[in-house]
Amino acid sequence: MDDLDVNLTRGTLDLLILKALSWGPRHGYAVSDWIGQATGSALQLGEGTLYPALHRLERQQLVVAEWGLSENNRHAKYYRLSAGGRRRLQTGVSSWHRFVEAAASALRATAPVPAA
């Protein structure tokens, strides 16, 4: 896997963040942790990359941010899905699956049929 040059696209990261928030509000660290675990650390990304994505989602009003207290009593910024974010997650997941299938079937293809 490591030698493959498959970059995580911004859209995919957004989708993963929305998925991470789909079970309730989380702060950025928790989102980052969940992505690491859920992907088996397969996606090698700097943990910081997450934050501009989160803030962008906030600007697009797909997530809502609020300051709250963390499990260890520290000030943390919590993100939760807005109604729009939840819709975006649904549509995003299905179009992602279509994309992957299309790409996968293309990658499975044998030699092209020569043009007649």
Binding site: G46, G48, Y51, H55, R59, R74, K77
Partner: protein, 923 residues
């Protein structure tokens, strides 16, 4: 009593600093959590933190990106919030105004009047003075000549203010600075017959319709860049051969009005002054010619002039000046360089053809050099004529608006005072002051905008009223007044200004309220508190200002009305109340020289036979009808120092002229029947002329040479003002009409009547037509009506200023009433106490009245010097009234004092009827 802004539980501190701090905190939290997790895995604290930082990546870049995103988001939020606030404010304002419809209604009405009057005045100014012609690139147009001279016809020495046809062709062909130059000239009255057999079937002129026409050169439409709505406009070749192009283009408005927009009108033949013309096209919609205020219905090629006006050879003579010229600047040529080039060309053409008049013309050109100006706004007689009237009106309506604002500001103050507690509570609950000011201003803005909208309706009606007043009759001056962008922008600007004027001070004052004292009064307005905050003094100041401005307007009104009164009854040196004038277009009717002299005698005899006519005579020029002749004379025993010393006005008149018009013969005799074609050439001169040429000796028996004829002076007549009540009499020469070398084109019959001349107008027309039914009698008018017409503007200004003065007076009286009613209601307890202690009701009334009168008198005293100073501005409009006019000032003072007393009487009466016990209990 809710604060609508409390939707967000806490005020978030927004701003760049705050955003950065949040992002830093978030990143720090992440790194701390990661460090903690790594420590839990067994790393030592230092290594764990270093690893956490490394895993995070480029934190500086992340931070920067997050801050950028957040800044964008916060901007959008702030904007949305502001809009939300604004919506809330508007809703709040509308709600609170609806709770108080009487207040809102009065304020809107007052504002509508004030703003409407200003908008109306501005829309007339816009239409007359500011708006460019609806043509292609009007800014590239230049006029040659006097743009006011729209109806002028000058015979004699050429002048620079208006051009002859040969001068036009010289300028058209000789210049290199214009891409095109056209000429247009007056047609006089046109008799147009539509739906009739061709001209040949109808001998002589026929009474028909009289649309407004202009003679134009073939390139008229192409130079202006005006196309045809239907059919075509003129081809540039349609002015090459005299009489060869019997075609007309009509205006879109005339096409709609007269032909109901029927396309079949194109190609139809109409008869103009007896000659057949084919309608070849309809000009673009909205185009009514190049003269603002005098729309044209149809245009005729200039080369058809001799056909339309037989016997008037205007095309060939350099001595007949009648064309207004307009050209389009060639690309890259500035107005300045065109001015120089055209001026040189015109001067050369005039002088080269001047012949024996060259020296005189040189002086004349020196005094009045060729005028080349921007033609973007077209020609207009009214523009110049109404400039000073519109200036006076603008000043008056602006003052009314200030009074309106002072008045409304006062109402707003009272309203803000009444809401003092509400505002205090909101401040106590943490509402920001700016936010409250914004809210109160929104209320003013809502009032101002509704007021302006109603004002536009007032303006729509008002501008027509101004134009109707200006025309002095039921038909308004035909200026296309529209509520177009400049007018709407002007009104919007007024609303904004008004909002600030009426809202800002009350809003600032209301929100200055100190929380504790307002809450302490438990919602009851405290009089003491009011006084301490100085609300009443400000209110009183506004009342005094209104009174002072009203004083200004009333004094102005008085002076203008008195001036108009004097104008209307001024002694002009003739029997102004008894004359009838009938204009006869002799040449157009086919009369010249000997035949015309016979006609003159016949008409005089017929007119004299009309019952009620005391005396009859004729003259070439009319009285108060705008025609004038001038010539140069050599006077026996007089040496001219400058050429202009030889210039005199002249008129050629019939026998018994001075007796007929009621002029005062001072010495010698008038023109008599014996001064016939063969008799010795005689002349009568006026007083001014006699004084000028013969300061020491007797003028009688001396000789003067004019028109290469030597005339002997046989009489001196008193000066008369025969064109304008205001004019200073010119040197004037009268000679017998039958002794003229060339008979005039037209003449007027003057009849003096015993009673009201207006009654005899029809009889006169009948009597003249009885001599020859085909005679063209263009106008029969009673002189009082003509004089009235010449004073139209003065009536307009006097009426309009009186109207505005009355509005200002009513408003300031209302303002005074308001402030007195408020003040007395605050002092109910005091009055009750006074009464309980034995004060007579009369004493209380006197007390309140004297307080009101103190305000009124302060206003009068303040307004008086301003009024005297301001009357300098209307000095030019005044006739026989000094700038310090005691009667006007006296009347203004009395009117203001009476209004003030009336305004204060009701509150005073109420104060005096306070029942002592009730008053004391109430406090």
């Amino acid at each position: 009593m809710s604060d609508d802004r409390t939707r967000r539980p806490f005020r978030l501190a927004l701003g760049a600093k705050h955003l950065k701090r949040d992002v830093d905190q978030e990143i720090e939290f992440h790194i701390a959590m990661r460090t903690q997790a790594l420590v839990a895995q067994g790393l030592d604290a230092e290594t764990a933190r270093a690893r956490a930082v490394a895993q995070f990546g480029d934190s500086a870049a992340v931070r920067e990106e997050c801050v950028t995103i957040d800044t964008q988001r916060s901007r959008a939020t702030t904007l949305a919030e502001r809009l939300g606030n604004f919506r809330q404010d508007v809703a709040y304002a509308v709600r609170s105004l609806r709770q108080n419809p009487a207040f809102a209604g009065i304020v809107i009405l007052i504002l509508a009047l004030g703003i409407g009057a200003n908008t109306a005045t501005f829309s007339v100014i816009d239409a007359l003075m500011l708006r460019p012609l609806p043509v292609t690139h009007p800014e590239a147009l230049v006029t040659i000549g006097d743009p006011r001279a729209t109806g002028r016809l000058s015979e004699g020495t050429p002048e620079s203010e208006i051009a002859s046809y040969p001068l036009y062709t010289d300028l058209r062909d000789g210049n290199h600075v214009l891409t095109g130059l056209y000429g247009s000239g007056r047609t006089g009255r046109l008799d147009v017959v539509i739906d009739q057999a061709p001209a040949s079937a109808k001998p002589g002129p026929t009474e028909g319709e009289h649309p407004h026409g202009r003679f134009v050169t073939g390139n008229f439409f192409s130079v202006l860049g005006v196309g045809a709505a239907s059919g075509r406009t003129f081809a540039a070749t349609e002015d090459r051969v005299t009489g060869a192009d019997p075609v007309v283009v009509i205006s879109e408005a005339y096409w709609r009005k007269r032909f109901a927009g029927d396309p079949a009108a194109i190609g139809r033949t109409i008869t103009i002054n007896g000659a057949g013309f084919v309608i070849v096209g309809v000009a673009e919609k909205g185009f009514t010619g190049d003269i603002v205020g005098q729309p044209s219905d149809l245009w005729i090629p200039v080369t058809m002039q001799p056909v339309v006006m037989p016997n008037s050879p205007w095309l060939t003579k350099r001595s007949v000046s009648w064309l207004l010229l307009m050209g389009r600047l060639a690309p890259g040529v500035s107005l300045e360089s065109a001015r120089t080039a055209l001026s040189v060309l015109e001067t050369r053409s005039l002088l080269e053809n001047a012949g024996s008049e060259r020296r005189y013309l040189e002086t004349r050109l020196h005094d009045a050099p060729p005028r080349i100006e921007s033609g973007a706004r077209g020609f207009s007689y009214y523009r110049a004529a109404f400039a000073s009237a519109m200036f006076t009106l603008t000043a008056a309506v602006a003052m009314v608006l200030v009074v309106v604002c002072a008045n409304v500001a006062n109402l707003m103050l009272a309203r803000a005072a009444a809401r003092g507690r509400e505002i205090s509570v909101r401040i106590a609950l943490g509402a920001g002051r700016m936010r409250l000011v914004q809210q109160l201003l929104t209320e003013s803005a809502v009032l101002a905008i509704i007021g302006s909208t109603c004002g536009l309706v007032v303006a729509w009606w008002g501008s027509t009223a101004i134009l109707r007043l200006a025309a002095g009759g039921p038909r308004p001056v035909p200026v296309d007044v529209r509520l177009d962008w400049p007018v709407v922008a002007f009104t919007l600007g007024l609303s904004i200004t008004t909002t600030l004027l009426i809202g800002l001070v009350p809003a600032l004052r209301a929100t200055r309220s100190d929380v504790a004292s307002a809450l302490r009064t438990q919602g009851r307005d405290s009089g003491a508190e009011m006084t301490r905050r100085g609300r009443i003094p400000l209110g009183k100041g506004l009342v005094i200002a209104q009174m002072a401005l009203s004083m200004l307007l009333l004094v102005g009104t008085g002076m203008l009305v008195r001036s108009t009164e004097r104008l209307a009854h001024a002694d002009v040196g003739i029997a102004r109340d008894q004359l009838i004038l009938a204009d006869v277009a002799a040449q157009q009717s086919g009369y010249t020289d000997a035949r015309m002299n016979a006609l003159v005698r016949d008409l005089m005899a017929r007119a004299a036979a009309i019952p009620g006519v005391a005396a009859v005579s004729v003259s070439e020029n009319g009285i108060f009808s705008g025609t004038e002749s001038a010539t140069n004379v050599q006077v026996e025993g007089f040496t001219a120092r400058v050429d202009s010393d030889t210039a005199v006005k002249y008129d050629d008149v019939g026998a018994g002229y001075f007796n007929a018009v009621g002029a005062h013969l001072l010495r010698g005799r008038g023109i008599e029947a014996r001064d016939n074609e063969t008799g010795p050439r005689v002349a009568v001169i006026n007083e001014t002329m006699a004084r000028f040429y013969f300061p020491h000796g007797d003028a009688l028996g001396r000789h003067i040479t004019a028109d290469s004829t030597v005339w002997e002076i046989v009489g001196i007549v008193g000066d008369a003002r025969t064109n304008d009540v205001r004019e200073t009499p010119d040197r004037r020469l009268f000679v017998p009409i039958v002794q003229m070398k060339h008979s005039p084109d037209q003449f007027r019959v003057e009849l003096r009547t015993g009673g009201d001349p207006a009654r005899l107008v029809d009889a006169v027309r009948r009597a003249l037509l009885a001599s020859d039914p085909s005679l063209v009698v263009t106008d029969v008018s009673a002189l009082p009506a003509l004089i009235q017409d010449s004073l139209t503007q003065d009536y307009l200004v006097a009426k309009a200023v009186s109207f505005f003065g009355a509005i200002a007076l009513i408003l300031s009286a209302l303002g005074l009433y308001g402030i007195m009613a408020y003040a007395t209601s605050r002092r109910t307890a005091e009055f009750g106490l006074r009464m309980a202690l034995g004060a007579e009701p009369g004493a209380v009334i006197r007390m309140v009245l004297s307080e009101a009168m103190t305000l009124a008198i302060s206003g009068i005293v303040l307004g008086l010097p301003v009024a005297v100073a301001a009357s300098q501005l209307i000095r030019g409009r005044l006739f026989h009234i000094g700038v310090f006019d005691p009667p006007s000032i006296g009347i203004a003072v009395i009117v203001l004092a009476i209004s003030a007393a009336l305004a204060a009487y009701l509150p005073a009466l109420r104060a005096s009827s306070v029942a002592p016990l009730a008053a004391i209990r109430a406090s």
